[in-house]
Symmetry: C2
């Protein structure tokens, strides 16, 4: 059985006990090169296969092949395997998989920021590699109208800067300009940095935002206290 393992936000302290156990006991580790390197101290002397970004299907196919050879395979992902990651791809190939959930960027960033997700929220990716940009804009507009807090994965990449700006404009057009926005980069890693801004300042902070940034856009109740971002659990 393949173990599909969420390794969390990067710092090994946020691995689950189950993830650590299966990484320790497996024969083979497969994954995106950066993630395989992050867990290297736990997987010394294992057979490892490192892949480049974009080779998601190749990784999954290799995992299935090696598992069929009788090897105990850990296929590793950053964050949680179920959120913009490999679980849907591997399950199209085989059902012989144990999925080990991980601390995703939304959980990690929320814990660093304070409490932005204490009430209803929506999780969106701005990557138009998989979804048409018109569809993303429609979803963003409806999320604004519902006043959901928004967690945004993949907000910008260099190849779609113009499109990302168009999506940000939808938010600017549909939410109060004073809405709190958090930009969190490399959460729980050595090169961690973050900013809390207001929505009206989004375009002047555009150079700070990249593929490793998770954005959280507050709702009308979200406020700052002690330098933390808080969405109250209670509105009444």
């Amino acid at each position: 059985m393949i173990k599909l393992v969420g390794i969390g936000p990067g710092n090994l302290q946020y691995l689950t006990l189950r993830a650590k156990e299966v990484l320790k006991n497996c024969d083979v580790v497969i994954g995106y090169e950066k993630y395989v390197e992050q867990i290297a101290e736990l997987t010394k002397s294992k057979e490892t296969y490192k892949y480049k970004m974009g080779q998601e299907e190749e990784r999954c196919k290799r995992a299935v092949e090696l598992s069929k050879e009788g090897k105990d395979v850990c296929l590793v992902c950053g964050g949680d395997p179920g959120i913009y990651s490999l679980s849907s791809i591997i399950l199209n190939l085989t059902d012989d998989v144990e999925i080990i959930p991980g601390i995703s960027a939304l959980n990690a960033c929320a814990s660093i920021l304070g409490s932005p997700l204490s009430n209803d929220f929506v999780v969106l990716s701005f990557s138009d590699y998989n979804v048409d940009i018109s569809e993303i804009k429609k979803r963003v507009e409806l999320a604004c109208k519902a006043d959901f807090v928004m967690v945004i994965y993949n907000p910008i990449s260099r190849v779609r800067l113009k499109k990302s700006k168009e999506i940000f404009q939808v938010i600017v057009d549909n939410k109060p300009s004073k809405t709190k926005v958090a930009l969190v980069k490399n959460c729980y890693r050595a090169d961690f940095s973050m900013r809390i801004i207001e929505l009206s300042q989004i375009f002047e902070n555009i150079d700070f935002i990249d593929m490793n940034t998770t954005m959280i856009v507050g709702n009308k109740y979200t406020y700052e206290n002690f330098g933390k971002l808080i969405t109250p659990r209670w509105y009444k």
Copy 2:
């Protein structure tokens, strides 16, 4: 400094290494009685304070008092402290808190179901204790129109069965009747059970749903394969 610790879905294997470490090293454990008991094997001989459901503010105030006395306090939550839990409450009292993220019900249920959350999704609570039911219905309707997968916490309690049925009706009125719906109860616990149904069968399954059930309502792309629930990551 108070440690606010997410203990995950209940099974200790899904604790993070960081959570285990702080539980081992603290002087005092405070929390809802069920959660304090779940981690008892890690906190033997500690001073413990167990609270009833509903006493969220009391727990947080006690944690602050004991911390001021110089004790190293772990305030524990099920799942993740940031999702419908204690983080916003404690941060209204003090900023002297480390929040340790946990595997939330959405991560845990997704891993058991297969891959329902591989694309954009919304997280909602149907409890109208904190939010007016008219507001919940509006959000649900907009989430349906955006075709977000929906993760629903607290779908039903005995005291608001009629109101929950009204919210389910909003979903029935706004999504195709064949939409896949998962009902997951006590994920990763001994008394775990689950059902995958179609939206048209929701009312005939109402007796299965309770406060310990997490519901996941698929989008138009969500399908079943090998008995797993999958929302493709790629729509194109």
